[in-house]
Symmetry: D2
Subunit: 263 residues, 4 copies
């Protein structure tokens, strides 16, 4: 197929996992014996097959596994963190932020809503309501033509989940794809897209360390769809820049070379 | 590539051309000797190659070429009309409208802004400012991650064009991809997406019978990108419906079978 | 206060009521002895006091009470219909449509989702899921700075209501203010704004003939807030128009005076 | 008028001015002999009269004039900065950020696009194209029902201005109100709203130290409209918070009191 948009190689995905609950809590380790990041990875591979090359890194890797070199070779980064948001170094957060604005896709999952990187990209508190009491979560599609919603039932049901409820303090999403309800009566904007700089961001709330959500068929499909959607196709990994342009020259901007004209 | 989103066959495209100017005005026939619809078709083929199968129909075909059977086998319909909007039958407009809401993609080009089908989908007057005096049009990308903007320069320049200016009476677009300026100082939201029912719509304003715009390399690329974007992936061509659902049965809605409970 | 935006006189509101259930069904007449339209009117007056002048008209009035003269003197029209959408004449629907595009505000309540006027403005089927089985509806605010959400608790609860659920086939709203959940687990985009032409539209789903929803304090406040929000402040009641503008003359457009240049 | 939304006292506005160009550059001091902040202040007073109480503070005031006490008593902060963005202390930026998320309105003018506070709220680079060569700027309204657009001509013209052009790296605005074109052919999204937390933000690009833009009648009207629009009406100045809620208790969230369940 010669469509230049989709004709290139597999999506290069890195799943970032905090990997602390799995080490410290036997009940989490029982649900996710290979770590949550590996369950997420497998779900992507299961859906995309040779369309994706997926690796994993974790908080305890040097530079949290997110070196400049790793990011340069990542089309889409998937982020799961919870208990140790504060341990993520500001330097790495700044690096990820720079790469997103320069074109790297980012999927933020569940408790990643309160990660440093998500807050830095959103500009808001990203706070919400919560309760981990085995609520049933029902996920409804409200944007049925969106590629991220393809192939999932309307609705799909997660038998037991942590409740996340509104008000979720995020900017109004560019696209609102999924809404979730919980057996306690709460509602949540559970699937949201945001475009920032040259990068695409998908937030998807299902998923928690205490429930086997990342083995759920439809959750896996949504994450895989999100990975495909979040890949961008600019030829270079560079951020937008501030440049001066001459009249009638639309293509050759230049950096500012003057100064405050003090006397 | 096993990504289920993009793994299926070529996009089936129908270009609908009014084909009146080309018959009545020699200067238009000179620019578009095979008709505007064929210039549009060639631009799509040139960009998508085997990724698309493109045919053309025109106003003077029986049922304007848009029979139920044709539409059922169309993934994306491209619409160019101008002088003869009023001759398009309401029955065909209703049929196209139904297919869009049921999942057929629609690209509306240039003067198609005042077609019956666009007005019916938008709900507004779709009026604008205009002047055909060989303005230079400059097309700027304001949504650089959008797949429809991939592969086109920022900006791209159309040396001579009809001016279309604001206020363009459309609903706020779901996505605003391109803005055009004209040498007279006007501005226009020239690339806009809208989702309606299960269908995706892309309006793109460059293009006119008096200028060879549909031979412009970047205009062709945008239209081809739009075609790929507008294809949807639901298994059936059916519209949303009004159904009653029993409590705890999320999947088996039923039509209303009661009546106004008159005494 | 000299702010020219809010300094003028009271909002002139017309509540349009279908007024059929109240005539035909004793149980509805018991809930709404003065008709639903009067309950809605009283809720607006209660909240806006001298800030609004509210009248009511019904389906059985001549021209459904919506003559050209009435509409010319209406800032905001509130619409409740259900059983008799089909009896509303197309001529009146076209007249209301024209006035909305020319600047009249419109509030569409509950089953008005399937009225001719709402469908004509939205361009979609406006279908949804439903069930009238005394679900509890909880209304959550997701746009807390919006003036329509001012003064209502987060959430507010309607003890018994008809269920309206997604997928609700509307264009993505310009602003999504409220989300409702139902005891059966469904969700609905229950408070949505749309701008069309020079008019502002607010859809609010709570309200039904079988439940006393229009006596609910918070529902009344939201409707009153919606009325204030929907009023526009253009000096004239005219629609957008299609006009030709000379180069360098940005203010004096003219109608087209040429013709298809046939030979 | 008893409408509770608009019935309270005047809007309390603080105009923050960098006030450096006026001190260092005689040509700027000639245009703005009382400082740019005072020209902005006068424009608001001229339009809102007793509907607003406006004061000014500048970079060189202690804590840049933006103490906790000042912000607590500010409904809407107007920000103009340019040459000395880097001198604004991070502590004050964090304080302003917190107040915006808690409900203070914010107007960011012109070169404020590159201020720390705007970048922190947007999450993007906020870069753009520019050229200060006396372009004519034409400001077009594309959201004619928006209260910020009331009372200004379509279009309005600023005879000489700095050019600001796309791509402007901001999130897609919640509402796009104005588009500007420049005589060099560029375009800019010049009037944009954003809602963040419990606060409303309006970015408006006209205005520069080298041109008398803040004396322009229509520019002044837009800024005054923006001030009225940005005021919010929550009873308290508090940010969204992260709280746990018990099932069936929608109103009494509590802070987390547990810990990572390490063994």
């Amino acid at each position: 197929m010669t469509n230049p948009i989709t004709a290139d190689g597999p999506v290069r995905v890195v799943v970032w996992g905090e990997n602390r609950h799995e080490q410290l809590e036997p009940e989490v380790a029982e649900i996710y014996p290979e770590g949550m990041h590996n369950a997420i990875r497998q779900g992507i591979e299961e859906n995309l097959g040779q369309g994706a090359v997926v690796s994993t890194v974790t908080l305890d890797d040097p530079e949290h596994g997110l070196t400049e070199e790793v990011l340069e070779n990542t089309d889409v980064l998937v982020w799961w963190g919870h208990a140790a948001h504060g341990e993520v170094s500001d330097e790495v957060v700044d690096r990820v932020h720079r790469h997103v604005l320069a074109g790297m896709g980012l999927l933020v999952l569940h408790s990643g809503h309160w990660s440093k990187i998500f807050g830095k990209l959103m500009g808001t508190t990203c706070t919400l309501r919560w309760r981990s009491e085995r609520d049933r979560e029902i996920v409804w599609t409200v944007d049925p033509t969106h590629p991220i919603a393809q192939g999932v039932p309307h609705p799909f049901i997660i038998p037991e989940q942590e409740m996340y409820g509104e008000f979720f303090d995020i900017p109004a999403p560019d696209e609102l794809i999924f809404l979730s309800t919980f057996s306690g009566g709460e509602v949540f904007r559970s699937g949201c897209t945001f475009r920032r700089g040259f990068g695409k961001i998908f937030f998807f709330s299902p998923g928690d360390q205490d429930y086997p959500v990342y083995f759920h068929k439809d959750v896996r499909r949504v994450i895989a769809n999100g990975v495909v959607w979040a890949k961008t196709y600019r030829p270079e990994r560079t951020s937008p820049v501030l440049l001066r342009y001459e009249t009638e020259d639309f293509y050759n901007g230049q950096g500012y070379q003057g100064a405050l004209k003090a006397q």
